[in-house]
Amino acid sequence: MNSFAPLPPDWPGGYWLHWGVFVIIILAFVLLTVMIFLWYERRGLGRIQARLGPNRAGPLGLFQSVADAVKILTKEDIVPAKGDKIVFWLAPAVAFVPVLLVFAVIPFQDGAMLADLNVGILYVVAVSSISVIGIFMAGWGSNNKYSLIGAMRTVAQVVSYEIPLGLAIIGVVLISGSLSLTEIVAAQNIPFILFQPLGFLIFLMASLAEINRAPFDVMEADSEIVAGFHTEYSGMKYGMFYLAEYAEALVVSAIIATLFLGGWRGGVLPPVLWFLIKVFGVFFLIFWIRSTVPRVRIDQIMGFAWKFLLPLALINMFITGIEVVLLPDGLPWPIIFLNIAIAVILVVVWSRFFKLGGGRVEA
């Protein structure tokens, strides 16, 4: 059997076998890809800053993340004397586990997923919100003002950005007519990034804020609040947060690839490879943005979410809804140009409304 053919629908077998195999695949995939991502981002950032990045451990520095992992594992594990010990211990797990759970519904190729939920994307949004509780627990349990400030910033930011994020997803759901990620991928004969250019932009920016990556990384702004919520963490507990951060980036890359770039679809190459290529491409975009854009202030972040992304996401949802109602037999390709034009006009018009007082905090 050649490996390009789709897998049989009952692969790899019965209920428990399927469960066992996919749990192992997901665990291995997440841990391995996070390590590759660490190397990939540091090398990429290095090249963008006209230097080489890690190049000592192994060929091309490929084992740098292994060396870092060994270092983190052997470090002393410190718990603050006046911290809330139980919360402090639980926080890394609460932050990391939901990220793993999200992978249960992401299709690696046709039917290759742990659970083909009919409300897949709803599940993703619901579960991924839990990890912010872990971050707040870390901030609270540390009994440290920087940790608490960092954690509170995160909560404010994540809660605000959930809304445009959800509304951007609704656009995709309207076009595909399903919440299941398998069916969303199956509906993408043309990748949805073309039908939803504005939705893609909103989703990208909101998810960057969700996973607290630059330019929305105020929660661990090292020039202001040391390291934010993980100031007091060391050893493997710190490692868990680090892992969770990159696993979240992986989740976002995978979801963007699935919702907007056609998931595992694409010609010639095997579907899994297509999926991985898209994930790595999206992650490149994420750290490319990180290398370019400076960190924004907390008031700018909140203003951006409520005054810019939220209205645009609402308008985008309504326009998509009208298009779907008027053209019930699926959207024809000329609508792509209309949607791109609408996106450009809306961004330009809304940029004129949206001002943040040239560097001053708004009254």
Partner: protein, 164 residues
């Protein structure tokens, strides 16, 4: 109406960073790759000339650290025989004041800069260890006549251009 207001500023920035992605890295991979240092480098060793030194001890007086220890015997003609000339390079701050103060040009700073040692006492140098040898070459600091003979420093600017 500035175009930067509408997200074009970010796109411009991203164009700049993507250009840098294909640039040659400017970093030097140090132990494997070395640049030629400045001709007037104050390298971390002191070089003493047995022929030129008259034992006047001006260097020992000029040293702000008191790192130079010098003892001389009875005068022979116009010079003192130097019995002991010892430098504790652990105290030396490589200011070059001894080199500048020497009226006979008997002292130079070295051209080398890799002189890390495992033991403190290895840093104390007797006069035999201070003379010029194959690996101990003087730098052009305060000695323009030596500077003339040394190769020019590599500039990163020139490196970038030579690759084009």
């Amino acid at each position: 109406m500035k175009p930067e207001r509408f997200g074009l500023g970010i796109l411009k920035g991203m164009a700049v960073t993507s250009k840098h992605l294909f640039r040659r890295p400017v970093t030097t991979q140090y132990p494997e790759e070395r640049l030629t240092v400045s001709r007037r480098i104050r390298g971390n060793e002191l070089i003493w000339s047995r022929e030129k030194c008259t034992g006047c001890a001006t260097c020992a007086k000029a040293c702000p650290q008191g790192a130079i220890e010098i003892t001389t015997g009875k005068p022979e003609g116009d010079r003192y025989p130097v019995e002991k000339f010892q430098v504790d390079s652990g105290y030396c701050i490589f200011c070059g004041l001894c080199v500048e103060s020497c009226p006979y040009g008997a002292l130079c700073l070295g051209y080398e800069y890799e002189k890390a040692k495992y033991r403190r006492k290895e840093l104390v140098k007797a006069k035999e260890e201070l003379e010029t040898s194959a690996e101990k070459q003087p730098s052009g600091y305060a000695h323009p006549e030596i500077e003339e003979t040394l190769p020019r420093q590599t500039l990163l600017l020139e490196r970038e251009e030579s690759k084009k």
